[in-house]
C-alpha cells in the first residue's frame, strides 16, 4: 500500500504564479522514489509540501490514508516522527554551537520519543559510519561529507518511515559523494528515501522509481530502469543527453 499519496496537488502564490500544477504521485514503503528537476521545476516546493511546511493550494496529500493537515497539531506530531529530512548544505544545516550528540538527539527530544536517548544516538552515529567519540565533538571539527553523515544520523535517529533527501550530495566532492551514496543504499533497507535532485545519475543509483518534473508538472514517471532505457518525454531525453559522462572505456 502506498504510504504517501499526492492527489491533484497544485501550489500557487497569491500573485497567481503557479509553481506546481496538478501533481499525482505515490511513495511506497521500502521503495525509494527519485524526484528529478532543474531550477524552477518546483521540486523544492514539492518537498516543502511533503514536509508539511506549506499547504497545497488545491488537492491533498495523504499519509496512510489520513490527510496531511498542517493545522492539525496532533496529526503533525505523529507525522514528524515518521517523515524526516536532510538538506543540501551540510554547513548551514547543523547548529555550530551544539555538540553532535545534541544535534542528533534533537528530534528525539523535540518529538518526545520514548527511548534511551544515549543509545539511540550512538546507534545512529554507528549506522552512518561515524566513530562513537564524534558525539562529544562540534560540527566545525568535521569535513563536509562527515557533516552530511551527522545530518543523516539526525534524520534517522527517530526511526522514521520516510527520509526526504534534498540535493544531499550536490555540495560534496565526487569521492565523498560516492561514499554517501553507498551509505544511503545501506540505510535504504531500514528507511525509505525520497531523493530530490537535479542529478539523474544519483537517482538512478538509489531509486527504483523516478518522476521527472519540469516547470511544475510531472512530465514523466515510472520505474527508473524503463525511463532511462526508453525515455518518452523530450525533456527527459534532453536531461539524459546533457548529463556529462566519461568517454566509454575501450
Amino acid at each position: 500500500m502506498s504510504f504517501i499519496t499526492v492527489e491533484n496537488v497544485s501550489f500557487a502564490y497569491r500573485s497567481g504564479r503557479t509553481i506546481l500544477d496538478s501533481l499525482n504521485l505515490t511513495i511506497e514503503k521500502g521503495r525509494n522514489l527519485g524526484i528529478v528537476g532543474e531550477s524552477g521545476s518546483g521540486k523544492t516546493t514539492l518537498l516543502r509540501l511533503l514536509l508539511g511546511l506549506a499547504q497545497p493550494s488545491a488537492g491533498r496529500i495523504l499519509l496512510d490514508g489520513q490527510i496531511l493537515d498542517t493545522r492539525n497539531r496532533a496529526f503533525m506530531g505523529g507525522f514528524r516522527k515518521r517523515v524526516q529530512a536532510v538538506f543540501q548544505d551540510p554547513y548551514s544545516s547543523l547548529d555550530p554551537r551544539q555538540s553532535v550528540f545534541n544535534i542528533v538527539a534533537e528530534p528525539l527530544r523535540a518529538l518526545k520519543v520514548q527511548t534511551d536517548i544515549e543509545s539511540a544516538v550512538s546507534e545512529a552515529l554507528a549506522a552512518v559510519g561515524l566513530p562513537a567519540d564524534a558525539a562529544r565533538r562540534y560540527p566545525h571539527e568535521f569535513s563536509g561529507g562527515q557533516r552530511q553523515r551527522i545530518a543523516i544520523a539526525r534524520a534517522i535517529v527517530a526511526r522514521p518511515d520516510l527520509v526526504l533527501a534534498d540535493e544531499i550530495v550536490s555540495a560534496l566532492d565526487l569521492s565523498t559523494r560516492i561514499l554517501i551514496v553507498d551509505l544511503l543504499k545501506t540505510l535504504s533497507t531500514s528507511a525509505t528515501f525520497a531523493v530530490v535532485s537535479h542529478d539523474i545519475a544519483l537517482v538512478a543509483l538509489l531509486c527504483p522509481d523516478i518522476i521527472i518534473l519540469e516547470k511544475g508538472r510531472i512530465v514523466e514517471s515510472g520505474p527508473t530502469e524503463r525511463v532511462l532505457k526508453d525515455p518518452a518525454h523530450p525533456y527527459t531525453r534532453r536531461l539524459l543527453a546533457s548529463t556529462p559522462r566519461l568517454p566509454p572505456p575501450v
Binding site: E38, S39, L174, S175, H198, I200, A204, L205
Partner: protein, 269 residues
C-alpha cells in the same frame, strides 16, 4: 612551439600552511588543459596565481611564465597588462564578475573599450556598441540589443555566464581560464555552456585552462588533464590515457566513482 604558459615548481603558502607544492605544467598556444581537483586541492589558488591575484596573506615561489612575462614578483603595471590580453578568466558564479548596478551592455563595453585602446584602435561609442552586440550574439544570447539594456539580476544564471564569457572574449585572450564555469548551473544549461566554450576556443584558437572538480565535465572539453590532490600534482597526460588507464590510485578512485554514476545511467543516448 614555445609554451604560452609555463608553471615551474610553483608553491603557494601562507605563514602557517603549504597550500600548493612544486606544481609544474605548461600549456601551448591553442592547447586545452583540464586541471582536476577536489576541495583543498589548490586548483583555484593556482588559477589566481597565474594572473597575480593571490591574496596578500599568501606567497608564491617558483616560476609562472605567461606569454613571455614572469608573473611571480611582477609589478602591478605588468600584471594589469597581462590580465585580459594574455589570460582572461571566467569564474563559477557569474554574479561576482558582473556589476549589479550596471547594464550588461555597458559592462561588456568597458572591456571592449579597454581592449581597443590597448591595441591603439579607435574606441568611439558606435564602434564599441557594434562590437558589444557582436560579442553578445557570439555567445548565443537571443536578442542582443534588448539584453544589452538589462541588469544582471534580470537574467537567468546561464545568460549571466554567457555575458561573463562575452566579457572574457572581448579581450581576445590567448588563454581562457575557466574556473568551475558550470558548477552553479543546471545540467541542461551546463551542456549548452560547455558546448559554447568548446566552440569559441576552437574558433578563436585560444588556449584553455579548464578547472573543475568534476571529471566528466572536463573530459569532453580538453586534450590533456592534470590531477591535483592536496596541493600536489598526482598525474598528468592526454585525457584518453589518464581516464582509460589512470596510474595513480587517487585518479583511479575518482575515475571509478565517475564510472559508477555513468553505469547507473546505462547506455549513451
Amino acid at each position: 612551439m614555445t609554451a604560452l604558459l609555463t608553471v615551474d615548481r610553483l608553491s603557494i603558502a601562507t605563514q602557517a600552511r603549504q597550500l600548493v607544492r612544486n606544481l609544474s605544467f605548461s600549456i601551448a598556444p591553442g592547447e586545452r588543459l583540464g586541471l582536476i581537483g577536489e576541495s583543498g586541492s589548490g586548483k583555484s589558488l593556482t588559477s589566481l596565481a597565474l594572473i597575480g591575484l593571490l591574496p596578500e596573506t599568501m606567497a608564491a615561489t617558483g616560476s609562472i611564465r605567461l606569454d613571455g612575462t614572469e608573473v611571480i614578483g611582477a609589478g602591478e603595471r605588468q600584471l594589469v597588462a597581462l590580465r585580459g590580453p594574455a589570460a582572461a578568466t571566467i569564474f563559477q558564479e557569474p554574479l561576482t564578475a558582473l556589476d549589479p548596478l550596471m547594464r550588461v551592455g555597458r559592462q561588456v563595453g568597458e572591456v571592449v573599450r579597454r581592449r581597443l585602446r590597448h591595441e591603439g584602435l579607435p574606441s568611439s561609442a558606435p564602434a564599441v556598441q557594434t562590437r558589444v552586440l557582436e560579442l553578445l550574439s557570439r555567445v548565443a544570447l537571443p536578442d542582443p540589443e534588448r539584453l544589452a539594456r538589462v541588469y544582471p539580476h534580470e537574467m537567468s544564471g546561464g545568460q549571466r555566464q554567457r555575458v561573463a564569457i562575452a566579457m572574457a572574449l572581448a579581450w581576445r585572450p590567448k588563454l581562457l581560464v575557466a574556473d568551475e564555469p558550470t558548477t552553479a548551473l543546471d545540467v541542461t544549461t551546463q551542456a549548452e555552456i560547455l558546448a559554447l566554450i568548446g566552440q569559441l576556443v576552437r574558433e578563436d584558437n585560444m588556449a584553455l585552462l579548464f578547472i573543475s572538480h568534476d571529471i566528466p565535465v572536463v573530459a569532453g572539453t580538453v586534450d590533456r588533464v592534470a590531477v591535483l590532490r592536496q596541493g600536489e600534482l598526482v598525474e598528468a597526460g592526454p585525457v584518453s590515457d589518464v581516464l582509460q588507464a589512470p596510474a595513480d590510485p587517487y585518479t583511479r578512485s575518482l575515475v571509478a566513482a565517475a564510472r559508477t554514476f555513468d553505469t547507473a545511467l546505462g547506455r549513451l543516448f
